[in-house]
Amino acid sequence: MKPLLEISAVDMRFTTPKGTFEALKDVNLKITEGEFVSLIGHSGCGKSTVLNLVGGLLQASSGGIILDGREVSEPGPERAIVFQNHSLLPWLTVWQNVELAVKTVFKGKKSRAEMRDWIEHNLALVNMSHALDKRPDEISGGMKQRVGIARALAMQPRVLLMDEPFGALDALTRAHLQDTLMEIQRDLNNTVIMITHDVDEAVLLSDRIVMMTNGPSATVGEILPIDLPRPRDRLALADDAHYNHLRHEVLRFLYEKQRKVENIPAAEKKVAAEKKPDAEVSEAPTRRAVGSDL
């Protein structure tokens, strides 16, 4: 089957005051239509850089990304992004936030009434129909993330990109949203790339888990297919031997093969070197602080 999205031989270098920093080296990945792929790895490994490259917010230093037979060169609604801290416009209501996306993407393609139905439909998908006229600062962090997902889905993307969408949420809210996302994905069969730090989340949601090596010069380390039958139930899976085996595989990769060597001075140097690209690829710690006001 021909892949929908193909990342081939992508290198990513950032120019910093201290010289060139190579974040990614020879990243290759093929994703077929309807597939749910998670990217997992230690922080600073360039997961977000990969996502931003696919999103078109960054341009690869060499290599390229092809979606649907066309090279990705700029951001666009066919690669909608769910940002970690929701990124809703604070001066617009829930409804208006989705409306802005729908009006922009379907200008001239949908009638006014069709747009209204489409906005309502997408907000209903994420169970936010009760708060259409609320503004982002009037709803909880989980709700904001739901609206962010609705806005992305409303663009009818070919690939849905999610940058640690549930990272700033408490465990219960996160579980709830993961279930919602699984339902939506079952119904719509979206192609999804999701960044996560959470091993359980990755195993529960994904068809494949792409595990990345530590940076600098990070690349795809191993790809783990998750052949658990769907629909998946988190309670039933908790005692499932195969589920736990897969979970161990990921943990083994992260904590044995790619264990971060915390040699203090060296680590500090590395953090400093990674700061620059990190800020650009939206993994800066301030973002998490903003999103964590549940």
Binding site: F83, N85, L89, A101, T104
Partner: protein
């Protein structure tokens, strides 16, 4: 009978819960109003006391009572002038009607009343001038600020000029503006008086900067996340500015606008005084030159009026800001 005992008498007849809330309310009221009233009373006392100690060439410095008396006088003069104007127009209409009765084909010419402007006329003139100057400044500063905030190049190009002209006093601008306006604004039937244009442009030149700087800073603080949203949606430049940039910049922009309006009001009074242009500044200057025993009191009335109007303008801007600002409780 003082207020507290009145409250307690009323409250004695109310059910307990009502009484509690009434007492609490009156206590809040006392605390809210008490301090400002006390401050005002102390100020008036100090003023009265200090005024007696100051001897000027125009007599003793006026105390609060003398000033209040002159405020009333100014109002009476204004009312008298209005009556005179009304009487003038009445006479004119009568004459025209009389002549038309004799000569129906006669085309009457009507003249407008040319009495000296009163204190309140001057307030009106000043308000119109300051608002015109402020609006003109905003029309220039807001778009330029947005472009500066969006483009590093434009910002770098304009910034030195801003830094250079921002500290310039209105009094330094005034001679230049007067000469340039006199040279350029020549029309037999001008839409605006030349003095009005001079005052307005001086105000504009001086109150441009806070709005400009704050708008530019407000635009640069648009969060990177929202910029990314805009990129993913492929918003056009204009839509991006309207939907993302402007709303983000509004809180900062309004802070700038408020400062600008305050500066505009201060500058206008100075400009009117120096240029002898109609307005409150001219009123103050005329009274100073006049040098009657009442002049100091009348200037004091003007000072208080200037303060009150400045305060009112600031409140109006604050109300406008609250209406358009999406940030709650700010």
């Amino acid at each position: 009978m003082n207020a507290t005992s009145l409250v307690s008498q009323i409250s004695a007849r109310l059910p307990d819960t009502d009484r509690d809330s009434l007492l609490r309310y009156s206590r809040q009221l006392l605390r809210g109003l008490g301090a400002p009233l006390l401050g005002l009373a102390l100020f008036l006392l100090l003023w009265q006391f200090a005024a007696q100690k100051v001897d000027t060439s125009l007599g003793k410095f006026p105390g609060p009572l003398a000033v209040a008396e002159q405020a009333a006088n100014l109002y009476d003069e204004h009312a008298a002038e209005r009556d005179k104007a009304a009487a003038f127009y009445q006479r004119q209409e009568d004459r025209i009607a009389e002549r038309l009765a004799q000569q129906p084909e006669w085309q009457p010419t009507r003249r407008s009343y040319t009495g000296a402007p009163t204190f309140f006329d001057q307030i009106g003139t000043s308000l119109i001038t300051v608002l015109a100057g402020f609006v003109l400044a905003s029309i220039v500063a807001i778009p330029l600020g947005i472009v500066m905030g969006l483009s590093r190049f434009v910002s770098n190009a304009v910034n030195p000029l801003v830094q250079l002209f921002r500290p310039v006093s209105p009094l330094a601008w005034l001679p230049l503006v007067t000469l340039v306006v006199s040279a350029v604004y020549t029309s037999d039937d001008p839409m605006f008086a030349r003095s009005f244009v001079v005052s307005m442009i001086t105000v504009t030149l001086c109150c441009l900067w806070p709005t400009l700087i704050n708008t530019a800073v407000g635009v640069t603080t648009v969060s990177q996340d929202l910029n990314n949203v805009s990129k993913v949606l492929r918003l056009g430049w204009f839509t991006h500015v309207r939907k993302i940039v402007l709303p983000s910049a509004i809180p900062m922009m309004f802070t700038g606008l408020r400062v600008s309006l305050g500066i505009a009001w201060m500058v206008l009074i100075a400009a009117e005084m120096l240029a002898q242009n109609p307005g409150l500044g001219k009123f103050v200057w005329d009274e100073f030159q006049n040098g009657s025993s009442q002049s100091l009191s009348r200037i004091m009335v003007a000072v208080l009026a200037i303060g009150l109007i400045g305060f009112a303008l600031d409140r109006l801007m604050l109300m406008a800001q609250r209406r358009v600002d999406w940030q709650k409780g700010d």
